[in-house]
């Protein structure tokens, strides 16, 4: 990333820079269970999140900006998620899609299910539901874009270095009602 995370960009440049970033999110789908089907539905013709600038099915984590963890994360799988997340280049964003990825969902008392992907990697946007509808994924993508538009890369990276697991107080800006 060079100097982008070292210096605070002047506001107009930052605006254009972030505007460019938010509409070219290469998305890496970590489909683990039923929720992955909803993700695929969101990427297919009817909901089609390419029109939001999200390009699905990146060739691998090294080409991706956005990780969508959709499905039930087991303790056995957790190291793999962490490893692939670490392979992604900064700046990287994570959407936790579905109750299972948020908190363990219906398997809250299971012996094998990780109680939320945020125990392993930092999460930017949580999407509740079992499974959430594709529209919910679109909403979460738009929220993430708002977050990207409003953020300062320097601050984000500083926060990341201080506290690699939680995105403390990152906060997704409130969207105005779209009705």
């Amino acid at each position: 990333m060079g100097v982008m995370d070292q210096i605070e960009l002047p506001t107009p440049i930052k605006y254009v820079f972030n505007w460019g970033r938010k509409y070219s999110l290469w998305c890496f789908n970590f489909g683990l269970a039923c929720c992955a089907i909803e993700f695929i539905a969101a990427s297919a013709a009817r909901h089609d999140f390419i029109r939001h600038g999200v390009i699905p099915f990146a060739h691998g984590p090294r080409q991706a900006d956005l990780l969508v963890v959709s499905g039930t994360l087991t303790d056995k799988m957790a190291p793999a998620v962490k490893r692939l997340y670490e392979q992604m280049p900064e700046p990287k964003y994570v959407i936790s899609f579905g109750s299972c990825a948020n908190c363990g969902g219906p398997y809250w008392d299971s012996y094998s299910v990780t109680k939320g992907v945020d125990q392993v990697i930092p999460v930017d946007v949580y999407v509740p539901g079992c499974p959430p509808r594709p529209e919910a994924l679109l909403e979460s993508i738009m929220r993430l874009q708002d977050l990207i538009q409003g953020e300062s890369l320097k601050e984000r990276m500083e926060r990341r270095r201080r506290d690699p697991i939680t995105l403390a107080a990152a906060g997704v800006p409130e969207r105005e009602s779209t009705t």
Partner: protein, 316 residues
């Protein structure tokens, strides 16, 4: 192994299969048999487990050449059962072999049939992973393949305790709808700890959870309000009673007001509902006024002593 004798139209019946295996393995080898849900199950003595599997595969009349499945069943106090499902591609028969593990609950062991059916290898590893059954003669059960490598305990055993439930027991009740003698559904708010597991430890934990999460007292802000209102109504009606002895007309009014409050207390429906409900409330009001008047006459003497009648009239 021969496919010559085993044919779909010459498949052995369950009785014949059992007889054949008893003949080959000895009477003691087959402990029992049952046909359930269209599946023929043979119970095999533990010592003959490996030999029975071998016979099933190699006996030309049986020819169970396809290994389908292998798993275990927790039989509680009796220990564990290992079950394997075999299929014959030539006769189309399906056979279930079942054996009780030696060693009870503490150290269950079972001979491995991975020499006979290579597919049994990972099935036995999984069974060991979930139940902790040692398969003797298996080339290597460890490392664990379903759970994480450092997992402790055997999760599919009935006495395996789910750690999350130690913190927050299952929040539901066992039966979603319970019926009383007349067949009406008993409405029951599910409480934490209502449905403990089958073992003593579960019950203890459920009890502790009940203690830690007591049922909230029914007295809410609203409840307090109701009580206050009731007291007010009492006061008001008392004052009304005082007046009955003094002035009949004023007492009527006071009573009516007092019982208005009382009606509020008795239920919001008197306020909320339409004319019919109002009529009912009127009726009840009158009854209550009657009752109060009688009570007031008894207390009239005391009230006179207090001498606060005029003030209370103002209040009422």
């Amino acid at each position: 192994m021969s496919g010559v004798l085993a044919r779909r139209d010459r498949a052995l019946t369950p009785e014949e299969t059992e007889e054949l295996l008893r003949d080959r393995l000895g009477e003691a080898a087959v402990v029992g048999s049952v046909v359930e849900y269209g599946v023929f199950t043979l119970r095999i003595a533990q010592e003959h487990w490996l030999e029975a599997a071998r016979r099933c595969r190699d006996e030309p009349l049986l020819a169970y050449d396809l290994f389908d499945n292998l798993f275990a069943v927790d039989m509680r106090e009796e220990g564990f059962d290992v079950v394997t499902v075999l299929y014959s591609t030539s006769t189309g028969n399906r056979l279930v072999l079942r054996t009780r593990c030696a060693g009870g609950r503490e150290a269950p062991t079972c001979p491995s049939i991975s020499d006979v059916y290579r597919g049994a290898n990972w099935m036995e590893r999984e069974t060991w992973d979930m139940f902790g059954i040692e398969f003797e003669g298996h080339p290597g059960l460890a490392p664990r393949i379903l759970t994480v490598e450092n997992f402790e305990g055997w999760p599919l055993r009935k006495d395996f305790h789910l750690v999350s439930r130690g913190v927050k027991p299952w929040p539901g009740v066992k039966e979603p709808a319970e019926l009383d003698e007349d067949g009406n559904v008993i409405e029951r708010v599910p409480r934490i700890g209502d449905a403990p597991g089958p073992y003593e430890l579960d019950k203890v934990i459920a009890e502790q959870a009940k203690l830690a999460n007591p049922v909230p007292e029914p007295v809410t802000a609203e409840g307090g309000n109701v009580e206050e209102l009731a007291q007010d109504a009492d006061l008001a009606s008392d004052s009304g009673q005082v007046l009955t002895s003094a002035d009949e007309q004023a007492a009527e009014e006071a009573e009516a007001q007092a019982s208005d409050v009382a009606a509020d207390v008795a239920g919001a429906q008197a306020q909320d509902l339409e004319q019919t409900a109002k009529d009912k409330a009127e009726q009840r009001r009158r009854e209550q006024a009657e009752a109060r008047r009688r009570k007031a006459e008894e207390r009239a003497a005391d009230a006179d002593d207090a001498g606060a009648a005029p003030d209370q009239e103002g209040n009422a």
